[in-house]
């Protein structure tokens, strides 16, 4: 049996390595072609770019003038309708991602600052009950305003602390002073209120309500009326 010389083995190793490299290059090229070239080729203008003629003859045409008048009237009507949605009254905007609030009067920003909104925590019990602590998003309005509001503790507040849930009318459900000096109701149990945890303002820590510091809360309480809009996003 003939033993291959050292040069032959080296050439074989080189050839195999070279083949692998070629396969790798081919695979990468194929992938690049499918991922980048084909989508780029799809973007080759297939109907041609729009050519603006602005024909003077057309501009003198009665039908053209009529079309332009009609479309201008439509735009005016739509603009009027769109602007009618914008509230001229006072309203509040709450940004739940950055925990910021903005207060507007006559479409002008009059105050802004930090607030606290829902923590996005889901509390689960072994019995299968669960609560999600998030601030709802969308358009709301002020349903009611209260000074020195007491807090009626819901079930989750006891579950969260490992306490037994008391009956609905039990005295332990009522706490005073924890919601600050004022509360504005947004419906479904959600409130805009004050807090004793001021160091958490600007963070997502609440059970769904919107917490504010005392000064901001007072201005908001005095600016917004029942029926004023609150936009939460």
């Amino acid at each position: 049996m003939k033993i291959p010389d050292d040069g032959f083995l080296k050439r074989e190793v080189f050839r195999k390595g070279f083949n692998r490299l070629l396969i790798l290059i081919a695979a990468i090229s194929l992938l690049a072609f499918l991922l980048y070239c084909v989508p780029a080729l799809q973007e080759v203008p297939f109907t041609g770019k729009i050519i603006i003629t602005n024909s003077d003859e057309l501009k003198k045409d009665v039908l053209y003038k009529k079309q332009i008048t009609l479309i201008k009237r439509d735009i005016q009507r739509l603009s009027w309708r769109y602007n009618s949605y914008t509230s001229g009254q006072s309203y509040m905007v709450i940004n739940t991602t950055d925990n910021l609030f903005y207060l507007y009067r006559n479409k002008k920003l009059i105050r802004q600052g930090h607030c606290s909104t829902g923590s996005f925590k889901m509390l689960k019990t072994e019995e299968g009950r669960s609560w999600i602590f998030k601030t709802p998003k969308g358009k709301f309005w002020i349903h009611g305003k209260t000074e020195n509001p007491p807090w009626r503790r819901p079930d989750w507040s006891f579950v969260e602390e490992g306490l037994p849930i008391p009956p609905q009318d039990h005295y332990s459900r009522w706490e005073y002073g924890v919601l600050g000096d004022y509360a504005l109701s947004l419906g479904d149990g959600y409130l805009i209120h004050g807090t004793i945890y001021k160091r958490f303002l600007g963070m997502p820590v609440t059970h769904g309500c919107v917490r504010l510091n005392d000064d901001d809360l007072e201005v908001i309480f005095n600016t917004l009326n029942i029926g004023s809009k609150v936009f939460i996003f």
């Binding site: 080729l41 799809q42 973007e43 603006i52 949605y85 998003k137």
Partner: protein, 266 residues
Amino acid sequence: METEKIFISADRRAKIIAWIVIVIFFLIYYTVMAMLAPAKKMETLRREYGYKQDVNNPTDDRIFTDSTYLDLLHKKSFLQSRVTMAATDSIYLSISLPDSTLKLEISGVTVHRAQIRRINISTLFSGSDNYIILSMLSSPLTISRNFSSIKKEPLMIRMAPKDTSEYVPDIIPDTADYEPVNYIMEMDNGIRLHIYQEDKLKPGDGLYRSLFDIYHRMRYAAKIFLRVITFRVPEYQPYIKLRIPRSDAKIIYRALPEKGQIALYF
């Protein structure tokens, strides 16, 4: 022995050449089919949104190449779409490419504004059939699917303590948590809106963005591939790629509902 070696080598070479020819033919077929897709999409749109001549009130075709008319049509289409969305209580997005702005709005009130830093859009939007595109955009675009590097609702599950001894008060949330923000929203009419974070706040942000983009290019290529191997023209998905600051991108993604609506002015 030597003849056998030459024979094997020639046989192998023939096989390689045959494979190369097959791959090249497939690539040509694949490319042709992929390039037919935009024309097919345009044809579908033309059937649905194309201008239908009114016999009693005929329109001169030259009006569709008149800049005054087209500018007004752009405005009307955008407004019409926003009016439709403003009638709901939901949060929606208005994109104005000429102003480079994105606006989150609720019932006609702008609640957040973001500046677009970079824009890249499909040629479909600058094609000669502007009327068709504008008619399509006169109704809001509805998001059908989201692909994102961040969660829409970052829920954290916590088990309730069994008694007071197990109760641990909440600690301050870790606001230093950092995730790159890139997402794609696929609309019901096939348009894809890519929103990528522009700023490179941490090393690797650029790499994450590229990987996210490559992953979704692969998904799109796979869709084309599956259609092509079954001898069907693939579905063309026009795109709008925007780069905006990370904080704005995060706010917009978290604020928009799962099936949110979008108005586009281009």
